[in-house]
Amino acid sequence: MVTSTPERARTPGADWRVGLSDDQLKELLYLLKLCRYFDERMEALYRQGRLPGAIYSGRGQEGTHVGVAYALRPEDSLFPTHRDLSAQLTKGLDLKRVMAQYWGRIDGYTRGRDGNSHVGDWFGHRTWTVMSHLPIAYPVACGAALAYKRRGEARVAMGICGDGATSNGRWHEALNVSAIHQLPVVWVVNNNQYAYSTPNPLEFRVPTIAERAAAYGMPGVRVDAQDVLEVYRVAREAVERAREGGGPTLIECVSLRWRGHAGHDPAKYVPKELLERYMREKDPVARFASLLIERGVVDEEEVKRVQERVENEFDEGYRFAQASPFPVPEDVTKGLFTDDGYWASEPSREGGTG
């Protein structure tokens, strides 16, 4: 196992920007801000009772989500969980359609069949439509990676799951099979130190998750996810190794879940000091903005403009979602199988009670 040393990349001589252009660095900033703002606003709407269903905040973990997903090419596939909406947004999902999903509208990616972060866009941005059962997409990521390998395509599948999901049998099966067949897959564990209320020591008895990679015969890396560039660097290395036939890698990104498991959870079980320290010292969004200012890539003005852009996009998405009709009730039985052609045709935009 390797523990990545974030500061290394900043030492004189090393390329602090890990090969990224100014435009790319700015794109990362935009993504971090977008994900953060989306998360904050959606929670506010939830608290006001203006959002149906559930929300799963990824706040504090943007370094993980944006960093790993940014290492993927459009043709690579992503298999995330409930917590990883920011990774899906980084992969390119349309904010407007994501928001329509949250409000159960026909323009949501699932056409109203699912809500919140249980979203995906396979034929567009090649992301798995999230399912709750943990980590049910890990074995599926093996299957996609198998397809790439069989066809000799230079593509990679990435699976993300939480620390808690690593206790589940499927996690072991998927890592094991990916190693045996040297599949082009990258396994990301978003170790935010809690599975709902359950802390790491009740999930496993080893100091790190990354060291478990050895049990499968694959490299393991542990990275501090406050630093999006370091996460990106580590992920890119793993993605490129996989792409070149070097097999799977396990990456543990360490952060803290700033909010409760879901909207209703005040997360009193997280020690206050720990949370405050993370929010103060390890905010991946604030850190990255400071870094870019410090390095002269952007100035305060530009950061403000990014923030404005993000807010506008959110408002636009919100209006789009509210204007999108509900699905038609009669369609509830359609599209279970391909046979009725429901998904092959545009959905009806009339007749829903919205």
Binding site: P52, G53, A54, G104, R105, T110, G112, R113, D114, G115, H118, M131, S132, H133, L134, G164, A165, S167, N168, G169, A195, Y196, S197, T198, L202, E203, F204, A262, G263, H264, D265, Y269, F326, P327, V328, P329, E330, D331, V332, T333, L336, G352, T353, G354
Partner: protein
């Protein structure tokens, strides 16, 4: 008994602490369940709880809030997200004389522990004679805008599996009495709590520590003479609402609440049908091979001579539970659907 319509928004996601009885001594379904657990843990130290986030956090729905403070982390054991192993832990401890009660965070995740449930837990006694006093508790069912993975009704899978007793109470008293019976039973019981009911339904509930409701006995929740509605779980409440309306229209519906799916109380069902000659089987699990398929087939076989009309089934279609309110309402049988079905049957 208070009750709100099925169309109200999500409430099952564990928003509030479970709370206590009301001032006049009524208990919600959730409080009744918590009382059953508490009393049995007080009574018998072999009883212990295990599951995800049931300790410090008190469970996703706060059923076990306050338990760890009273009984400690050994008897209120937080487990990793490893459902196969949660069941295995319960089974192994039961074989060694404990009486474990395992909580699944949602009944949906019982599919993640399916093999240990249907192979190990269910079949062990038949091949060995070892008593297996295990209860698996799980919040099931829809109507709370929680979509496909938090609304499932797994009872048909488990009712088809030999070796499990499957319990689906609709009222606080039944929930309490049946859960206490399940904990005292020497066999594996799947106890499905309905999350729509948790905080919606309350009633006076016995405080007798030995208050038990026997497993395997249905209950007539409302007497009637024209049509029998056989149902269970959340649908009991929709059926009662429909029966009330139907009364105004001069149709007298009898509501049979199964309470237990296996063993199925055929006698109560058949006597009711003998009286009314008409049966509507109403259920929330998917229509095809849902619980009502067994009930319908059973009536058609054993109550044929009583029937003056087809045995009609009303149930959700065979698709995953959808999220959008419009779709979920189209998916779940509504009170109006029940009334229409009963009226049609009555006019047969």
């Amino acid at each position: 008994m208070a009750q709100t319509g099925v169309e109200s928004a999500a409430a099952g996601h564990g928003a509030e602490p479970r709370g206590k009885r009301t001032e006049d001594g009524q208990a919600t379904y959730l409080v009744a369940i918590a009382e059953a657990l508490w009393e049995e843990m007080e009574r018998d130290e072999r009883v212990f709880l295990l599951g995800e986030d049931i300790g410090v956090y008190g469970g996703a729905f706060k059923v076990t809030e306050g338990f760890i403070e009273r009984f400690g982390p050994e008897r209120v054991m937080d487990t990793p997200i490893a459902e196969e192993t949660i069941v295995g832990l319960a089974l192994g401890a039961a074989m060694e004389g404990f009486r474990p009660v395992a909580e699944f965070q949602y009944a949906d995740f019982m599919s993640s522990g399916f093999d240990e449930i249907t192979t190990a837990l269910a079949r062990y006694h038949y091949r060995s004679g070892v008593p297996i006093p295990v209860v698996l508790r799980a919040p099931s069912g829809g109507g709370v805008r929680a979509s496909s993975f938090h609304s499932f009704n797994p009872e048909p899978w488990f009712a088809h599996t030999p070796g499990l007793k499957v319990i689906c109470p609709a009222f606080p008293s039944d929930a309490k009495g049946l859960l206490k019976s399940a904990i005292r039973d020497d066999n594996p019981c799947v106890f499905l709590e309905h999350k729509w009911i948790y905080r919606r339904i309350k009633e006076p509930v016995s405080e007798d520590p030995d208050f038990l409701v026997p497993i395997g006995i249905a209950k007539i929740q409302r007497e009637g003479s024209d049509v029998t509605i056989v149902t269970y779980g959340m649908m009991v409440h929709q059926a009662l609402e429909a029966a009330e309306d139907l009364e105004q229209k001069g149709i007298s519906a009898e509501v049979v609440d199964l309470r237990t799916i296996t063993p199925l109380d055929k006698d109560t069902i058949l006597s009711s049908v003998a009286k009314t000659s008409r049966a509507l089987v109403l259920y929330e699990s998917h229509r095809f091979l849902g619980v009502g398929a067994e009930v319908g087939a059973m009536i058609a076989e054993e109550g044929f001579e009583h029937l003056d009309a087809p045995v009609v089934r009303l149930a959700p279609p065979n698709v995953p539970v959808p999220f959008s309110p419009v779709l979920e309402d189209a998916y779940l049988p509504q009170v109006a659907d029940i009334e229409a079905a009963v009226e049609k049957l009555a006019a047969w």
